[in-house]
């Protein structure tokens, strides 16, 4: 388990992280969402000791990463690798990783290269932006590390590769009991992926959600009334969109707001719609402040 305890960090006099505390368990996908500049990258860099916190500590399996950097053999931060090693060949990067991470699985690496139709390159910089991102991910998963930290992992990937990658991550977590942490400003990517979501606002963990619990607590509906939506009902719903007399809203599935109660207002139409994470965050947190 990775425990992040009371991390605070200032850069250029600006508070970037403020008393951040949470845990990352094994076999889970954790999403860290928040707008650009909210502190997501700083948080990930602090977890792997690229940046040192002003206060607080990061413990990997009970060991402080600053004092025992060897614990990072099980924690991979996928960010600048392809850029940092851009002048190396695929083979020399593989050789380097074999030395750094004793559990690096070369056979698995080549399997993944084949699966994603990646060719070896004489220099990493010869890959396109998308392929560089994909190569970094393949390298990370081939290390067989327990914790994989990804910073905006699908930036630059085309839609097809992006889907393949997201599917692949879910499979890996199910198969290998690894944990993935994804920092992103794109909620749609976490839709089918994350078990656990941390929302960051102004360097703080603003709220924390377990996706299944949240999805069971809300439902998205379309309502049409003869006239305006009754004021009495309005106070119970999170209005997502209104077009004329058509209301798209989020209702809490528990409590007093039962189907009977809604039907008592005699809507012309009362239909359930598929709900997305974005709907949830728009309704709960005023989406624009959460994600860009």
């Amino acid at each position: 388990m990775i425990k992040i305890q009371n991390l605070s960090k200032h850069i250029h006099g600006q508070e970037i992280l403020s008393d951040v505390t949470f845990s990352i368990g094994e076999g889970k996908i954790t999403g860290i969402v928040g707008r650009n500049g909210v502190g997501k990258t700083t948080l990930l860099k602090t977890i792997v000791d690229v940046l040192r916190p002003d206060e607080g500590e990061v413990l990997v399996n009970g060991q402080n990463v600053q004092k025992r950097p060897d614990v990072k053999r099980n924690v991979i931060f996928v960010s600048d690798m392809a850029e940092a090693l851009k002048n190396e060949s695929t083979k020399s990067v593989v050789n380097l990783y074999k030395e750094i991470y004793p559990s690096f699985d070369q056979t698995y690496f080549y399997e993944l290269m084949e699966r994603f139709d990646m060719k070896e390159a004489k220099k990493i910089k010869h890959y396109s932006k998308g392929k560089k991102a994909l190569f970094s991910l393949i390298m990370a998963f081939a290390t067989r590390a327990t914790y994989i930290l990804l910073d905006e992992p699908t930036d630059g990937l085309d839609v097809i590769i992006k889907r393949q990658i997201l599917k692949f991550m879910v499979e890996e977590v199910a198969k290998e009991d690894i944990s993935i942490v994804i920092a992103t400003h794109r909620l749609d990517e976490l839709e089918t992926l994350a078990d656990h979501i941390l929302v960051m606002k102004a360097g703080r963990i603003d709220s924390e959600y377990h996706i299944e619990e949240v999805k069971q607590s809300y439902k998205k509906v379309q309502l049409v009334f003869k006239g305006e939506m009754p004021e009495e009902l309005k106070q119970y719903v999170y209005l997502l969109e209104q077009s004329g007399r058509v209301y798209i809203c989020l209702l809490e599935s528990t409590g007093d707001l039962t189907d009977e109660y809604v039907n008592s207002f005699q809507p012309l139409l009362y239909d359930e719609l598929p709900m997305t994470l974005e709907d949830l965050f728009l309704a709960r947190l005023g989406g624009d402040e959460v994600v860009s």
Binding site: I16, G37, T42, V50, L51, P69, S79, M81, A84
Partner: protein
């Protein structure tokens, strides 16, 4: 302390520069040896073989030593400063190794490379002399002055550059600060000495300046700077040891969020700014005072001194503000 992975990573990243330095340095020394032999042949034909001297001068001093020292400062900047510029430092810091091991591996590779490169160059040059008509001159060779001393000085230049790299935030500032601090003890003393001379007509005794010169690493590339006094290797050795130990400490403590900026230790910026402004003001004052014709007297010289000092100090303040606000594209942003 020496993980193989870090050695591999360092060699992978630095191999191009190391090759260039090796072949360039070797080539230069061999050419220098061959041209010196040709000069000896010429002198021998004109004045007779008994007049031939100067075997030690091939190695000690000269443009060769200056240029190699310069390249070794760049080597230190390539190993630390360039990594800060291109974000490789972030990648390295995320790896499962102690920062002290990362610094120790860098220094060890650099120091071993210098020893190997200079030993091969030195050996090849001696071989050429041994195979020439002037092999008898080898009996006058001082191994201390031509091999031990330059080798230790070369390693000192490199180690000092690495140490400055733990304070500087990127490659250009590392190179600039290394050269400034290489000459700083003597340079700063001279600025004060000349300024006091202009105002009060007194200056430091020559013996004092010689002592300060001995405490200024820059002059060690050429032993002829020290005239009749033997400089000794104690100072470069002590400077190397203290630079290494201090570098080790600062590399461990250095904040990576300021990579790409002028300095990584932000608390030092006011001190550096004051230093830059002060030194430029002194230099500006000294230069301005030289424009005064002698017949106008000392008072006018002092007036010119202060005008020059204020102008240069103000210019340096503007320049240092720009330099300290400078940021390499892609350096840490809050995100």
């Amino acid at each position: 302390m020496f993980p193989k992975a870090l050695i591999m990573k360092e060699l992978q990243k630095q191999k191009s520069f190391l090759y260039i330095l090796f072949f360039f340095g070797l080539g230069w020394l061999l050419m220098r040896t061959i041209t010196t032999i040709q000069e000896w042949q010429h002198s021998s034909a004109q004045e007779g073989p008994l007049h031939i001297t100067g075997i030690n001068e091939i190695f000690a001093g000269s443009n060769y030593a200056l240029f190699i020292s310069f390249l070794l400062v760049i080597l230190g900047a390539v190993m630390v400063g360039r990594e800060r510029n291109n974000r490789l430092q972030d990648f390295t810091a995320s790896l499962p190794f102690k920062r002290k091991s990362i610094f120790t591996v860098k220094w060890s590779i650099g120091a071993l490379f210098i020893a190997l490169f200079y030993s091969v160059s030195y050996g090849a040059s001696l071989l050429i002399i041994a195979l020439s008509d002037f092999q008898a001159l080898l009996s006058g060779l001082s191994v201390y002055h031509t091999y031990v001393f330059p080798l230790i000085v070369f390693i000192s230049f490199f180690t000092f550059s690495l140490f400055i790299g733990t304070i500087a935030g990127e490659m250009v500032s590392q190179i600039a600060l290394t050269f400034i601090f290489l000459i700083f003890p003597f340079g700063f003393t001279m600025l004060i000495n000349l300024s006091v001379d202009i105002h009060a007509g007194v200056h430091l005794p020559v013996e004092w300046l010689e002592w300060i010169q001995k405490g200024t690493l820059f002059f060690y590339f050429d032993q002829q700077f020290f005239h009749d006094t033997e400089p000794g290797i104690a100072f470069p050795l002590m400077l190397s040891a203290s630079s290494f130990l201090l570098g080790l400490f600062l590399f461990e403590k250095g904040p990576n969020e300021f990579n790409g900026e002028f300095l990584v230790f932000k608390r030092l910026e006011p001190l550096f700014k004051a230093g830059i402004v002060g030194c430029f003001a002194l230099l500006g004052g000294i230069i301005a005072s030289t424009f005064v014709p002698a017949h106008l007297g000392d008072e006018m010289m002092i007036v010119f001194y202060w005008c020059g000092a204020v102008f240069a100090g103000f210019f340096a303040w503007l320049l240092s503000s720009k330099v300290m606000d400078f940021k390499i594209k892609g350096s840490m942003r809050a995100s």
